[in-house]
Symmetry: D3
Subunit: 332 residues, 6 copies
């Protein structure tokens, strides 16, 4: 078992019940989640020692975040309290042909407003195997661009491997701004979740329409030879209720694809990418083969679609069983 | 933007939650709707000025109808109060192979019991572009047959276009009775929703098994050259949860079909035809091309299947966006 | 109309709402059911006079069982009260790729702990046409093996036909133990639900990989010439939400298969086999043809998948209508 | 144990959840009940053999009524099917200072529209100890006035005791009309639920402001010496959530009052009077003392206030235990 | 009937279900409300022509606000769209000894961030009888202090009466800041909701411990002889579930008190003060006597406690009926 | 802050929603709790380091227990997995005059079936300040009597203070058996929750009808001079919805009583005694005065009544605030 630190924003998600639009909704489901928090929970579920570092307001909502993390045995000693508010977003759940729709209300959050790294960096990375962070964090503010870079440097100095999920969000910053920062931080990264669009738009790799994902992984590694592992999911959206999902992994100049998962119906797809990332990092920590890793991670991502909430609700034994008999037969 | 009057009965629908039969149900969902009311709401959503004329009892149920219409900005100055009861129906929601099942309890309603036109007809059609009514209204009683004809005449006199949705219901009257009335009123109609069965059964057009819907539209126009526009949906019922939907339009001797919508799962199909009619009338009012009109209307009908309740919950911008990207991808 | 006695355990089922795992669930749905009780309810729904014999604790849970049976007009004069507890099981509902999962908590129940036949056997089988019991009952304990045999003998003596559903459960006893008992009791059986696995594993019929179910039915009858009827369903599990279902029947050296049912989505598949058995016994009691019987029974089983709870909620008229128009179209 | 027939209308009640007005309500709770049906269920709960005679439509709603009665082991052999609709009413639940509010939608029901006694009167009262009916039944129509009288005569002829609950409803008929009928039918009545207002308004007993209920009971018996027993509850409405309840009984020129029950909060007061009547008739059937009878009946009525739905959910043992320890302490 | 404009912020309220703390809550109830919006809805319920002026974001949440107002027939022509977010607050519902608890998350809202009066002031007050605004609006920002004053001046210029509810909130600004502004704006006010604390803390009236509310009303009028009417409620909090409520009114040197309302249980007390203000302004518009006005307003406030949501759900007829028979008896 | 170990059984509670009997309930609320687990959660909420030792089955229900404890930051390193089932009980929630009712289904649980102390006793009490256990544990079995004594001895040897809550349950063992064991174990106890009935029935102190609780505390200490602290609540049950609660403490020959709490309505009283015990032990650990301790503990117990579930949901700051302003006023 390994020790992992993830760091990022965690938000309150308020979502509608399937079949109702937001304007029709008298009640909203409350979930707490965020990319790095979701990865933390996945890894804690698999038995690793996981710290989630963030900042939440000193209110019942901040307390709810803490209890949410505790529930999955994530260490919250680096969960700071203070600042003005918890970032929030509204999710109108999609169904069939109608897509889900999101309204962000995250500006001014306790985490986004941070100007300096308030954690004790001297201890944060002690004995830590992997530090995981996503591209959403530097997108939050100029200071967060600087702080993200600083965190990566400190993590490397402490001997951690650095895991980074590009996760580009056009609502938060421009391609140009993101590309510039990514170029600065990717030299510190060991494991990287990125797709074709990231390669082309952010890292300036030229499009070759004949080429598949493996080609872009190869090109990205040429640019950043320090990165040992690339991974991402390929999702074919048939409708809001039915998606096809394939996991991909690139390691040691080799490209791997998982079995194909036809997911139908989808209960809740938020956090599926994080469940995939969590599965990949678990494979790394457990020194599983690349093939076993991508299969495990994709199974975890597929299972995530079958439960409400942002976070993976499955143990490593359950994911493994699902890989063997994932048929939908009753388990008695 | 145009001005529209629709007139008809609005009922309380009491429906089960999916997966429960009516006899198992301890609670029922309450919705208010009716063909003409649903068309009114669609058009109000698209920004038109819409009046819904009807009659409801002077009880909390009548008040609930009024507030339902207000919620969508439908004008209720011609919503009369009085009479004995609100028409009601019970809907046992279908799922998969099991069809939905309806119990009507509409006899004796305030609207159905009307004997004279209690609205101020001198003002009702002032500056109105379209008057919309359906074949359910004359099916309610003998007086309503006379009153429907009278309304159409008054509307025409006031310079309105008349829109009519055949909507034959065998539980309310015979084919013969309906056919006789339709023959009397169709000469006043400008826009008509009718299908193959209406043509054959009600208007006495002889079946030609080799022919498609376009043929019948053509034939119907030969009979009623005053009708500028025919429209209806073609629905293929795969199961109670999965339908295929195609919208059709006949205009100026030309037949148009929308793209095919595979609707799966269906949240609630009640009111989808009204959403289609609302979309067609919106195209007419906005002078959209026939192709744009049928695409818009079919998109509106498809979206209706994804929300609970009888009425369309989408603005014209949302329908238009769905036409472009209706893939089921998350809209962030 | 016939008179039927079924006898077995009835349990409390506590199930999650779809999309939630058991550990996430703050509330659980409560249903009461068991193989023989479910068959009893099906047959009572079809108008037969049905007695369900069992034993439940003298608590509100036992009372809830009684009222559940009463609700469907099942006679409870042979429902004993006493003993320590009601058998319970927890069902984590599956969805899509994720299978349902069951936790049994049935040991020590009032029924399982019975050591002697506490019912008045002199009257239990009076004027009874069919006595139905399943292979779960003798699996509960050594005394229940003896008592099952005794019940069958008494039933035969009273002139009843005996119906037996093999229903082998590996969690309760070994193949060997079950096979030994089945060999003893099958000579008393008239109607038998059994599949290929039962034939091979329990009755020692050697596998012939080229052969289909009809072959095994033939072989089983060679061993037990007293059995007039074999039946079972063939289920293809596409996912926890989509199954294909075919009913089979073997009678008078003839093999029958129902039409194919594609069930999607599945609301609740628990009790579908019992609904099938109920339909078969109804066909027998009503002297329907084998083809009509297997079609009716499969339709009943398919409908069962569309409602929550263990028991069939449909009258014989509703099943018959479904056979004719089971298209998923609205029934107005 | 005795045998009882009750006869009357049973309706669907659609009620709001506490704290919501009807116009705000997206879902309504469905319960089935009626005065005579509620009395039937109480007596069946206490172990008596009870028949409920009525008429319901041949729809799922009629079937729901039947299953509701079956659930409590009420015999439905005299529950006819036919006619047009099930009587319905809407209940906006009150709370605190805000009173509950009722909208009746019962006109034209299968029962109210009956013109002749469609039951087999030759068998209906066979071996029956008590026939119970209320003043709501003759209030439904002129034919029902005649039929009520006829039923009472037939019951008396068959040797039944007749129980009558005045239950005057000003929305259904005038005081004068009711008074005239009551004068005709009371000579056939053995047990009568009536209060001061009934005595004064319906039976023409002159008001004496110094006198209490006992005085009026005495006077009523002077008019109708055939009546052995008068009973009713005295309810002090503190608010919609808090009522004081006292049961009264007059027997053999003696007046009895139960202990005082302070009921707070009230879950659902509909049917409390019927629970009281059920308790009184149970005392009569079991030949309990007048004091024991009124205490039992009042306890039953008090308990009814603590559960949702029209009908008493308690066995005679539970009512008896409540009389002893009705303190609100946990029963472990 | 009069014409009224109210102007202020409207927020999304997310509240827990009674008996659950915020940290325990998986779902939250969504309501929309704000002091001035709630007053607008009350007056629209009573039949007045009411405009609510505000600003909401151009999202589904802004649309939900608009539909909420439409539902009660409030005119939204002056409801602007734009800005960044909808102000939000979280309400942990109290019960018994445990108080409700509020977390505000309103900073940065579309309304609070306004810097200039974006409405067309030339038309806003046309033919308007009363302009109503509260002390929360100037508390939002420095610009809002200036804009509040400006609005009052414009309203007076247009011939409106100005209604002002002090509503001091210590979380938003200091007593000193509020006192200074109030001194500037009260000379423009005709009807003023203020209590003893407002008099002492904001307007510098010295405390006289022997004196009651009437004394302070008198003193306030000495300072601001332009104010014709003072009003407020006196609330005695027995617990979060039980309050005593008395309405007070000061007019023409006369002090009036309503009957005492004991409110138990409380469903939702948010908006009760606004319901009171709405009742007072209705009395003014209808030229009711001061006594009738304070009784009506207090009854409206008491009724508000019995329904979920911020807004009064009662018509003037319902409030009037409640004044007569507000006993909690069933209204049939 | 201190370190505490509590040890005992934790069960699944399945409870009805208020106003529904168990037989009416289609869904049940699931909560996890037990005396010692509840005390553990209270103390963890107050910031202490708390270990809960127990044994649960290796199923999703055992996992749910673990996540429940994690949610409140209780250490589960000594929560063993194994055995056959999780103890369960059914709670029919009481309301008003109707008492709650409990059905236990706890026999054969993983914890109750333990025969030896499977925890590592060498480490369990390391650096632990208080070991807390209740009288339910030795009531489970003969082996548990021996093991309870052994645990206390080991705890004392390790330097822990021992806290014991008598909690006599007549369903589990006789007074005689309990009395004998209590006499053996009380010499090891430092803090003891016991009431008058415990003193008289279990410890053989003779009744003196003139004497109050303080007298019995004094007498008990004479018998067990090692016990430093006695405590318990005095509860007056007005109804299932309204109780009066007073906390009592005896320390250093001095008797203390808290302020009186009138609790109305009661949301959920299960676990209130444990919340009281948790408050007392917090006072001990924090060296609060006896008066402050009993006030804090009683406030915690009162607050527990206002939330669903067995466990206290309040931090020490929230309890302290409630002591100051516990009025039911909104906290903004």
């Amino acid at each position: 078992m390994g020790k992992v630190v993830t760091l990022g924003e965690i938000m309150l998600r308020l979502s509608t019940q399937s079949g109702n639009r937001l304007v029709q909704s008298d009640s909203l489901q409350a979930h707490y989640g965020g990319g790095e928090a979701n990865v933390a929970i996945s890894l804690a579920n698999y038995g690793h020692e996981v710290v989630f570092a963030s900042k939440v307001p000193n209110t019942a909502l901040g307390e709810a975040v803490r209890k949410h993390l505790w529930r999955y045995h994530v260490d919250t000693h680096y969960l700071l309290t203070g600042g003005k508010r918890l970032g929030t977003y509204y999710l109108e759940t999609g169904i069939g042909e109608r897509a889900a729709s999101v309204i962000y209300d995250r500006a001014g959050s306790s985490f986004a407003e941070m100007k300096v790294l308030e954690w004790d960096l001297a201890t944060l990375f002690d004995d830590v195997d992997i530090f995981h962070i996503s591209g959403i964090t530097p997108a939050l503010s100029k200071p967060w661009q600087t702080m993200t870079l600083e965190l990566m440097k400190q993590a490397k100095k402490a001997g951690c491997k650095v895991s980074f999920d590009c996760n580009y969000r056009s609502k938060l910053w421009s391609l140009k701004e993101a590309g510039q920062l990514f170029t600065q931080i990717l030299p510190y990264v060991d494991y990287c979740s990125a797709g074709k669009l990231d390669a082309v738009n952010l890292l300036g790799i030229s499009v070759d329409s004949d080429e598949e994902l493996a080609f872009y992984y190869e090109k990205m590694q040429e640019h950043f030879p320090n990165i040992q592992l690339f991974y991402s999911t390929k999702r074919t959206v048939r409708s809001a209720s039915a998606n096809q999902l394939i996991g991909t992994l690139w390691y040691n100049h080799q490209y791997y694809e998982s079995a194909i998962h036809e997911i139908n119906p989808i209960v809740d797809r938020v956090g599926a990418g994080d469940a995939f990332a969590g599965g990949i990092l678990h494979g790394v920590l457990e020194q599983m083969t690349p093939r076993a890793t991508v299969d495990f991670a994709t199974a975890a991502a597929a299972l995530k679609h079958t439960v409400y909430g942002d976070c993976n609700q499955f143990s490593k034994e359950e994911v493994a069983d699902f890989l063997i008999c994932g048929s939908g037969k009753i388990i008695r």
